[in-house]
């Protein structure tokens, strides 16, 4: 029935927009099955096939009309296909953002910690009084995190800050 279909569609999109909530999705699916007296096995298979459509649509950047046409071609009624396509349109910004977020990043910078201080003396110089700046960069290499420690002099820090501001301007002009 159309009511059941909209409930199921809602369930599906909630999962798609929050792909990490797998447990929740499976629980909701089994609740849906019990409520509507459908057996869970076949329901899961149907859901698997349905889920292929939005994922394919994302990969190919389909419009909602194209998604509707796809569903009709698969044998869904006009009404149900329209409803799904509508839901797709509403959710596609979120889904697109998630797909972009999954895109490959090389040595992604995850975090940066810093400290600065004064070198008071050393084994070679009794009195120094020079400022040092230390950065700890947390980088994601493949699946692991790596910490990189570097030290900068003050002139280097100002130069680094200046360059990063130029990067920001550049990124903003392309957004």
């Amino acid at each position: 029935s159309s009511q059941q279909f909209s409930a199921l569609t809602e369930l599906l999109f909630r999962f798609l927009t929050e792909p990490k909530e797998v447990e929740r999705f499976l629980t909701q699916l089994s609740d849906f099955a019990t409520m509507n007296k459908i057996s869970l096995g076949p329901l899961k298979n149907i859901v698997k096939s349905i889920l292929l459509v939005p994922n394919g649509a994302l990969k190919r950047n389909l419009s909602s009309e194209q998604v509707k046409a796809d569903f009709i071609a698969l044998g869904l009624s006009e009404e149900k296909a329209s409803y799904f396509a509508e839901q797709w349109k509403v959710n596609s910004p979120t889904l697109t953002r998630l797909a972009v977020g999954q895109t490959l990043m090389i040595n992604q910078l995850i975090d940066m910690e810093w400290k600065f201080g004064v070198t008071a003396g050393s084994s070679e110089l009794e009195k120094v009084g020079s400022i040092f700046l230390q950065l700890k960069l947390v980088i994601k290499k493949g699946t692991q995190m790596e910490n990189v420690y570097i030290e900068l002099t003050l002139p280097q820090f100002y130069s680094f800050l200046h360059e990063m501001e130029r990067v920001k301007t550049s990124l903003e002009s392309f957004s």
Binding site: T96, V100, Q102, E124, S130, E151, F157, F174
Partner: protein, 194 residues
């Protein structure tokens, strides 16, 4: 520190002034572990036996390092380090050479002090990601930042190891980073204005 003794210099032939200058530089720059080798190298030009050359090199190394460590800048302070019966002209010459080199040697000491790996260079570029396996069309700008990092000089000696690390930042990460860098700048100004 081993006291300079006139005898260290007595048996050596003082070559030219420039040779003395160069010897002082070499004795300062050499790490303690390299002094024996240095002594062997300069032995022939000093017309001294290997033992005397070694004593001389060690003494000069200690003298120059001591002056730099204490941050001495005045001729009187340096002169007072020599023993009383020390050869006058040689004492003046050495003092003069040391004072001439003090600030260069201070910089050298600072540049070679222990530290975390140092940033020596950075480059960046902005790319636009247009497509990926999860989405076929997009226009997402991203930044690639390459940092050239030199390992601790003290560990590498004369052949510093420089590695290049390329990291990718998206706009959010860059904004957060700039926030952090801005805070550092503010704190630095606060310290400077105190």
């Amino acid at each position: 520190w081993p006291r300079l003794s006139a005898s260290h210099f007595a048996s050596c032939q003082a070559p030219s002034r420039d040779a003395v200058r160069q010897l002082c530089q070499q004795c300062f720059s050499s790490p303690p572990a390299g002094l024996a080798t240095l002594a062997q190298r300069v032995c022939p030009s000093l017309a001294a036996g290997p033992e005397e050359a070694e004593q001389l090199v060690f003494a000069l190394h200690s003298l120059t390092r001591h002056v730099v460590y204490r941050g001495l800048t005045k001729a009187e302070d340096v002169l007072s380090l020599f023993p009383e019966n020390f050869h006058q002209n040689l004492k003046s010459l050495l003092t003069k050479i040391i004072l001439e080199n003090i600030s260069a040697w201070r910089n050298e000491a600072q540049a070679s002090q222990i530290s975390l790996p140092r940033l020596v260079d950075m480059d960046w570029r902005v790319d636009i990601k247009t497509s990926s396996d999860s989405i076929s069309r997009m226009a997402v700008p991203t930044c690639l930042l390459q940092l050239k990092i030199q390992e601790d000089v003290a560990l590498c000696g004369n052949s510093p190891v420089v590695s290049a690390l390329t990291v990718e930042l998206n706009k959010e990460t860059l904004d957060t980073m700039l926030e952090g860098l801005g805070r550092i700048r503010d704190q630095l100004s606060a310290v400077a204005n105190k």
